[in-house]
Symmetry: C2
Subunit: 129 residues, 2 copies
């Protein structure tokens, strides 16, 4: 894919970042939201493997590098304002560091919060001891 | 739904905002991403009609108030870190101010950007003259 066209269309915020939503390409599940900088966008488009920018570690975050649960890029979409990205991906295993398939497993109900999906892979398995 | 439980679980950023992804509840389409403040979260959960916070207007943005294209809330999910919201909604008409069904109609391809979905309702119809 064409990193130059993408980079010219994206409006990065004052910190040089843009939010990126990852969606499972076939099932439509929204897996997670994370951030990208210019370098992460470029690497993702060139490699076809999703790379974010970790705000806590202040470094590129090649999804799956530690957990073994990478995301393969299927398509890369930019929103009407150029300030949000939608990544259609193929998620191997689980997207969430908690071991849930996706990060949105907490639902607000009439009587507080409910966990609506199970842990698929325990974090101890994802990250060792 | 329970605004107090939601508000205690959400980590708002330094500007008092949290990103909210809107997804069509039945088809799974990711429609848009916008921002909410505490008041927008509270109003959305109480009314069942999605209300964002407009960063440009610095005011509550009751989706559909001007365009006639509201979002009815079906479920309200909070991610593992409490810093992103996923709204499952029923979108009447179109989500995007351009008149496209969703905001993610620009795809990055091998030779630049392509528009992958049509305008469903012309903006002149959405917003008058």
């Amino acid at each position: 894919m064409d990193p130059a066209a993408a980079l010219s269309a994206i409006k990065f915020n004052s910190e040089g970042l843009v939010p990126a939503i990852a969606q499972q390409h076939d099932s439509g599940e929204v897996l997670m939201m994370a951030w990208m900088n210019r370098e992460a966008v470029g690497e993702t488009l060139k490699s076809g493997r999703v790379c974010y920018y970790s705000r806590s570690r202040k470094a590129l975050w090649r999804k799956g590098e530690t957990s073994g649960q990478p995301q393969t890029l299927k398509s890369f979409l930019i929103d009407c304002d150029g300030d949000t990205i939608l990544l259609k991906v193929d998620q191997k295993g689980v997207a969430c560091h908690t071991g849930h398939r996706d990060c949105f497993f907490t639902e607000v109900g009439p009587e507080g919060l409910t966990e609506i999906s199970p842990v698929v892979i325990p974090p101890t398995e994802l990250y060792g001891k």
